[in-house]
């Protein structure tokens, strides 16, 4: 029994890392503007489409470099065309703007890159690896692509955490999120800060899109991965980079384990048809969390003076 459970746990954790990666994009923009960026999923799709189609004409590494340029250009366009004009507006206005950006990007991405299913071949070994064969009969099965994705994600997280939390930029980010005018009055350049976080969020989206694309194929449904990032954010806290990681791991492991451990019990006890737990478990977990700890595991305490 332990062997399969452990195997499920590892598989869940590795998928969870990919959730974290998407959630990270949300956290970055939320930290710098207090806005939930609805377009993050579309950015993942757009980045994955760009990479997949470019890689058809050129070596992967060149396509990747070009995609990076595209994502930075996209951040610049968003800052120049949209955000710049919304300084000092309520965060609900900024949220609506990201809604618009989301649908535009989805449509625009498919207009230029096409709407079929495309493949991204990262050249990683695809055959599953078996480990710890001496301890468990048959060993534990691990997907090497997911393992590599997890390592890449871990490195990105470390770099970002250092970049945003240790430097003066971290202070500036929090300042901008709290009050635009006040931030401007001390000379924090709003435009530059936004440009920077959107560019970094775009790069995170690119990595997430690359990994999900390699796993599932590049198609419209990739943008829906963003919906899985929601419970991750609620668990980890909207403003915390480590929170996005831990939240992703918990959700990833939790939904896979629930399928293996919880489903049989539910089926037996209530005589259900079973299945589908993976689809709702994360959201129920998030809901419970909202009741107990609305700021998430690592989020900043919600302060309200009355």
């Amino acid at each position: 029994m332990l062997g399969p459970v452990l195997e499920t746990l590892i598989g869940g954790l590795l998928t969870g890392v990919l959730y974290s990666l998407v959630a990270l994009g949300f956290v970055l923009i939320f930290k710098a503007s207090g806005v939930f960026n609805f377009a993050q999923g579309s950015m993942v799709l757009f980045a994955a489409l760009s990479l997949a189609r470019l890689a058809e004409f050129m070596p992967l590494i060149v396509a990747l470099a070009l995609s990076i340029v595209i994502m930075i250009a996209l951040a610049y366009a968003i800052e120049f065309l949209v955000l710049r004009h919304l300084i000092n507006q309520d965060s609900i206005i900024l949220f609506m703007a990201t809604l618009g950006i989301a649908y535009f990007l989805e449509g625009f991405g498919q207009s230029i890159w096409g709407s079929d299913i495309y493949k991204i071949d990262l050249g990683f070994p695809t055959n599953p690896v078996f480990v710890l064969e001496s301890m468990f009969p048959g060993g534990l099965l691990i997907d090497p692509t997911e393992l590599i994705a997890a390592v890449i994600c871990a490195v990105m997280v470390l770099v970002l955490a250092v970049f945003f939390q240790v430097t003066r930029v971290g202070r500036a980010l929090r300042a901008v999120a709290d009050d635009h005018q006040a931030a401007q009055s001390v000379g924090i350049p709003l435009g530059q800060i936004w440009l920077m976080v959107w560019a970094v969020a775009g790069l995170v989206a690119l990595v997430a899109g690359m990994m999900w694309g390699a796993k599932l194929g590049v198609q419209f449904s990739i943008s829906l991965v963003a919906l899985k990032a929601l419970p991750v954010l609620i668990l980890g806290g909207f403003t915390s980079i480590p929170g996005a990681i831990v939240g992703g791991l918990i959700i990833g492991a939790g939904e896979k384990l629930s399928e293996v451990l919880l489903a049989p019990i539910l089926i037996r006890t209530f005589d259900l048809a079973g299945g589908g737990i993976e689809n709702w478990f994360a959201y129920v977990l998030a809901l419970l969390f909202l009741l107990v700890r609305p700021q998430g595991l690592f989020g900043e305490r919600i302060i309200e003076r009355v």
């Binding site: 000092n88 250092v162 970049f163 240790v166 430097t167 003066r168 930029v169 202070r171 500036a172 929090r174 300042a175 999120a177 709290d178 009050d179 005018q181 006040a182 931030a183 401007q184 009055s185 001390v186 000379g187 924090i188 350049p189 900043e300 305490r301 302060i303 309200e304 003076r305």
Partner: protein, 266 residues
């Protein structure tokens, strides 16, 4: 440094001058054809009834609002509009009518945010926390601690400002503005909502700043007693138009000012 006397200010160097500035939002005129100047070292009050355009004037000076007409000359440089970043870089700091602090951050971090433009070491140094970046952080921290001592807010340094009572928030906000080592400090109703004791403290700080550090201050205030005590010169706005400009005594005796405040039958 001694505070300049009235005669010195009257002959003094002009730090900022606003020339024929008009600002409208759609059809609503907030400021119409206003000209005035602020001289180095003075405390300049801007008064007027509600909706007179006082805050709009401050917002034009530090670049939040873009006037449709007029010119702004600051430190000898004339332009048709200020940008918030340029204003901050040039040494204009401000506080806000309704306290605009970074609520989730501690008082210390809020005031440190005022040092943003003075800390320019590269990212890499900051990340590594060595060399120039470390000494830079220390130097700036030292100055910020001095400001904290000056404002007597040592005990709340590590408390997120959202939790502080209003009077202390106003003090932290002043601290953040001071951390910019401003040449021109704009205070938008620094004493609004304060009790008498807090008002007296705030008056003391404003006078100290002006006398000991020679900071030029422009302030909007409704409390006439405070305005008359503190300021060297008073600008009076009503419905976006300048109706008087002079010493407190002159302004107090002005017919148009009395009418604006007490109302007049037409």
């Amino acid at each position: 440094m001694r505070a300049p006397t009235r005669q010195q200010i009257a002959a003094g160097e002009v730090l900022l001058s606003v020339d024929d500035v008009s600002l409208a939002f759609g059809g609503v005129r907030a400021v119409t054809g206003v000209s005035f100047d602020i001289r180095k070292g003075e405390i300049r009050a801007i008064i007027g009834p509600n909706g007179a355009g006082k805050t709009s004037m401050l917002n034009v000076i530090n670049g939040f609002y873009q006037p449709q007409r007029g010119r702004i000359t600051f430190k000898g440089q004339t332009r048709s509009r200020m940008r918030p970043y340029e204003a901050a870089l040039g040494g204009i700091a401000r506080t806000f009518q309704n306290v605009a602090l970074f609520k989730g951050m501690t008082a210390l971090d809020n005031i440190m945010a005022g040092r943003t433009l003075k800390m320019q070491r590269g990212f890499l140094w900051q990340v590594l926390r060595v060399g120039p970046a470390l000494s830079e952080e220390m130097e700036n921290r030292l100055l910020v601690e001095q400001i904290i001592d000056f404002l007597k807010i040592q005990h709340i340094r590590k408390i997120p400002v959202g939790k502080l009572p209003y009077g202390l928030q106003k003090r932290v906000e002043l601290g953040r503005a001071l951390a910019m080592e401003p040449d021109l400090l704009l205070l938008d109703e620094p004493m609004a909502g304060m009790n008498i004791e807090e008002k007296e403290d705030m008056c003391r700080y404003i006078l100290d700043l002006n006398e000991h550090f020679g900071t030029t201050i422009a302030l909007i205030e409704h409390d006439m007693g405070v305005v008359m005590d503190l300021s060297n010169r008073v600008l009076v706005l009503d419905h976006g138009v300048k109706i008087a400009d002079g010493t407190p005594a002159e302004v107090q005796a002005d017919r148009a000012v009395i009418d604006a405040y007490l109302g007049v039958s037409h």
